[in-house]
């Protein structure tokens, strides 16, 4: 009888083992906080951690590559943001300077935005977004907060063209602010202008500030132009000397300018 039972049970051996495994697993599940189970888990985790450390080289390098890609992306985003902020900061500072300068201008004036520049290496002409509708007329002086830019030579209804001091044909009467010596200034090379017709005996020092003289009917006196950087005494038989001036306004960076209604006031 017992043999029969054992024989019949042996057919269910697999399921008996299965049941034992299930019961054992369930017991384990419900005894997670048991001291022995915890110590077994700790021992297992310790054993595996040493293996994990060996593999950490692969996983870390893999993550490093991923991190590198991610950080590179973030760097690009931050770089773009930084450049945008830097641009805004520059614009803000520029506008503040303009605002400050605007308060100093006594004559009527109109603010114009530079909407185009000559494609030559030296900017000879610039296009402004103000025209006859805004009261702009031919020969109105154009200035920035740093100094003289040029004069209006062509006026449209909504835009105008300005001949800048970088044009070789542009000449104007200037004065040394300190010694009051006068001369005719013309553009020489990028950022540098030349003053002619200064008698040798007239005193000019390096670093002297050069301003408009006011002799011209177009430009009001006292507009800044730049500072003296070089003086060429000329040949012995010559009566005049050459003075080189570093222009204050870098014409390539212009964004906003003022058109002064100087001439119209005079008229």
């Amino acid at each position: 009888m017992i043999q029969k039972i054992i024989y019949s049970l042996s057919g269910f051996r697999d399921y008996f083992i299965f049941l034992c495994c299930i019961i054992f697993s369930t017991v384990l599940l419900f005894s997670q906080n048991h001291k022995q189970v915890l110590s077994l888990r700790a021992a297992g985790a310790d054993l595996f951690s040493s293996v994990e450390k060996k593999f950490a080289v692969f996983t870390n390098s893999f993550h490093a590559v991923k991190d590198n890609v991610r950080l590179n992306d973030q760097y690009q985003i931050l770089l773009r943001r930084y450049q945008a902020l830097e641009n805004l900061q520059w614009e803000n500072r520029h506008l503040l300077d303009l605002l400050d300068y605007k308060k100093k201008i006594e004559s009527d004036h109109v603010l114009g935005k530079v909407i185009g520049m000559g494609t030559y290496q030296n900017t000879r002409y610039i296009k402004l977004d103000v025209g006859s509708k805004d009261g702009v007329k031919k020969n109105h002086p154009v200035v920035s907060h740093k100094g003289l830019v040029g004069k209006i030579f062509l006026v449209g209804e909504n835009s105008s063209m300005c001949q800048t001091i970088a044009d070789k044909n542009f000449g104007l009467s200037v004065r040394d602010m300190k010694t009051r010596t006068t001369g005719i200034m013309k553009w020489n090379s990028p950022g540098i202008a030349q003053i002619f017709e200064i008698p040798k005996q007239d005193h000019i020092d390096l670093g002297d500030r050069i301003i408009t003289s006011g002799f011209s009917e177009i430009f009001p006196p006292g507009i800044n132009l730049g500072k003296v950087v070089r003086i060429d005494p000329g040949q012995k038989d010559e009566l005049t000397k050459l003075v080189f001036v570093e222009l204050s306004e870098n014409l390539r960076d212009l964004e906003f300018v003022f058109v002064i209604m100087y001439q119209s006031e005079k008229e």
Binding site: S31, F48, F55
Partner: protein, 164 residues
């Protein structure tokens, strides 16, 4: 393949599952390579061995990978028995697609049991877990089975011969 070879293969797979599989995880979803090897092994061993292998592998996995003790052993024991029973039916003719079907059934049962137990006491919504974890895990497991077939096709052919 003798027991030692199977044991070494399981150890290797468990180590792989615990370390390098993390590298191919997608949003925390990892394929269960151990289960895949377990299903594969049930072709070559008898039912008792399948159950014992399933239980042992699950237990080792629980203990060394910091899982809840008893969870994987329970799921893997059930999976091993089901995989064995499905693959050793008289009507069963081996083909890769049928193997995939068996694996799909086993992995579904495995993941469902696993997450049912996991859900107890966690307060998580079961259906949310099905959507977020169970289904992606099943899908990833199937993809992995196909990839392994493409990488080691001769192993599958050996299995075919054995079944015939």
């Amino acid at each position: 393949m003798n027991y030692l070879k199977w044991f070494l293969l399981f150890v290797f797979t468990i180590v792989f599952q615990g370390t390098l599989v993390n590298l191919i995880s997608i949003n925390g979803i990892r394929p269960d390579i151990v289960l895949l090897v377990l299903v594969f092994s049930t072709f070559h061993i008898n039912r008792t061995e399948a159950i014992i292998f399933g239980f042992s592998v699950g237990l080792i996995q629980d203990l060394i990978t910091g899982g809840i003790p008893g969870m994987s052993s329970l799921c893997k024991t059930i999976s091993a028995l089901i995989a064995y029973n499905l693959q050793h039916q008289k009507w069963y003719q081996f083909s890769f697609f049928r193997f995939l079907l068996v694996f799909l059934i086993v992995v579904t049962i495995h993941e469902t049991v696993y997450f049912i137990i996991f859900q107890f006491g966690s307060g998580l919504n079961f259906w949310m877990m099905v959507l977020q974890y169970v289904l992606p895990s099943i899908l990833y497991g199937i993809i992995m089975a196909i990839l392994l077939f493409l990488i080691f096709p001769e192993q599958y052919f050996k299995m075919t011969k054995k079944i015939k």
